[in-house]
């Protein structure tokens, strides 16, 4: 009897969580009207430039963070670095830190490099993601070291070994990192609010700030249009995401 009630409680709890997660999506879909879509896609000037800009920023962040994560993971795995576990521990700590703790150091760094209010201010801080490096390293841990050593007998070029031997085995993880970092770049909110002031450099994710009370209803239509690229990306790389995340372990 107790087990039965326990199961019922768990199901109710799961239902509540599911409703809380789905409610914003359902609200967005039901509140958007055809007139709003017409307004956004035909009448307004800002949607298309902001959409392509957001997509470009997200793609740059996705590709850049994959490159950085692959190189960092290869270095940690095959570079015979001492205290690798210590570095991984620091990465784990950084992963757990909220974004707000690194906003000010990033702001000071960008200010000193005169990159504030430029596109680079949105891309550069996101390239070295601890999550991406950690995930890539964990996946690379499953790549046998013997393969690397065998390839060293053929060629001395680490870059060639990376491209011919390691990367083909890492496809799933590369796709997973790209999808995650693309989603993070497409949905970032704090960085555009603090690092850029020009209206033309603000992506769609901070649109709510610039909409007035007269046209705030357009945000539902924009929300749906922004969800579609994410859904398509997830649809393409669903298997790779599952495989890539499966290697994430402490």
């Amino acid at each position: 009897m107790a087990k039965f009630f326990g199961k019922i409680l768990i199901h109710i709890f799961q239902l509540v969580i599911a409703v809380c997660l789905l409610l914003p999506v359902v609200l967005t879909v039901t509140k958007a009207t055809l007139a709003d879509f017409f307004s956004v896609l035909v009448e307004e000037f800002w949607f298309y430039p902001k959409f392509w800009f957001s997509l470009g920023i997200a793609a740059a962040i996705g590709i850049g963070s994959v490159v950085v994560a692959v190189l960092a993971a290869v270095g940690l795995k095959f570079g015979r670095i001492k205290h690798v576990k210590g570095i991984l521990f620091v990465l784990l700590l950084l992963m757990m830190m909220p974004l707000q703790t690194t906003l000010l150091p990033n702001y000071i760094g960008l200010r000193d490099l005169s990159l504030l209010d430029k596109t680079e201010a949105l891309i550069l801080p996101m390239l070295a993601s601890p999550f991406a490096i950690y995930l890539m390293y964990q996946y690379m841990d499953s790549v046998p070291y013997e393969g690397f050593e065998a390839a060293r007998l053929e060629t001395g070029s680490v870059f060639r070994i990376l491209c011919s031997v390691i990367l083909p085995q890492m496809r799933a993880c590369i796709a997973a990192v790209f999808v995650f970092m693309f989603a993070e770049g497409f949905n970032m909110v704090e960085q555009p609010l603090y690092f850029v002031k020009k209206e033309t450099l603000k992506p769609l994710s901070v649109l709510a700030e610039s909409l007035t009370s007269a046209n705030s209803h357009l945000i539902f239509a924009v929300g749906i249009l922004c969800m579609i690229p994410m859904l398509l990306l997830y649809g393409f790389y669903e298997e790779e995401l599952t495989e890539g995340l499966g290697h994430l372990k402490a």
Partner: protein
């Protein structure tokens, strides 16, 4: 099969967005009211004014400048003036209702004394279908 459907949907979505990026302004123009605008023409006229003082009639001739706009542009001393609104990424035009003071007609034109500037762009026909601050497409 699933990947094929996803490829098709992706191509459709981004294709439509690309078409929208290139042609949305042209499509928007199709749904807007088209208006023709004219610039007011400056017109100078000698005006004789008379007044009586101590039983004597005095006359003075002054040269006054009016702005001429088509008769059809004015209704109940109101006209529509075209204004350009600048927004990020572009601009569009709206019509605004403006009150003017007139001083009679001359031919097909009305003489405007106040409420209008020479560089204002006036809608040549006052239309009941137009609304204040409505977005329009101007044809000059």
């Amino acid at each position: 099969m699933r990947k094929k459907v996803l490829c098709l949907l992706t191509a459709l979505f981004f294709g439509l967005l690309l078409l929208g990026t290139l042609f949305h302004q042209k499509i928007d123009c199709m749904f807007r009211e088209h208006v023709t605008v004219v610039n007011p023409k400056p017109h100078q006229e000698k005006v004789t004014k008379t007044w009586e003082k101590n039983g004597e009639e005095h006359r003075i001739i002054t040269e006054e400048t009016f702005l001429l706009i088509p008769k059809e542009a004015v209704q109940y001393n109101m006209i529509y003036v075209l204004e350009t609104v600048e927004v990020p990424y572009g601009s569009y035009e709206v019509v605004r209702l403006k009150g003017v003071e007139t001083a009679g007609e001359t031919g097909d034109y009305v003489k405007v004394t106040r409420g209008l500037k020479e560089k204002d762009r006036v809608v040549d026909v006052f239309s009941e279908s137009l609304e204040n601050e409505e977005r329009v497409v101007a044809e000059e």
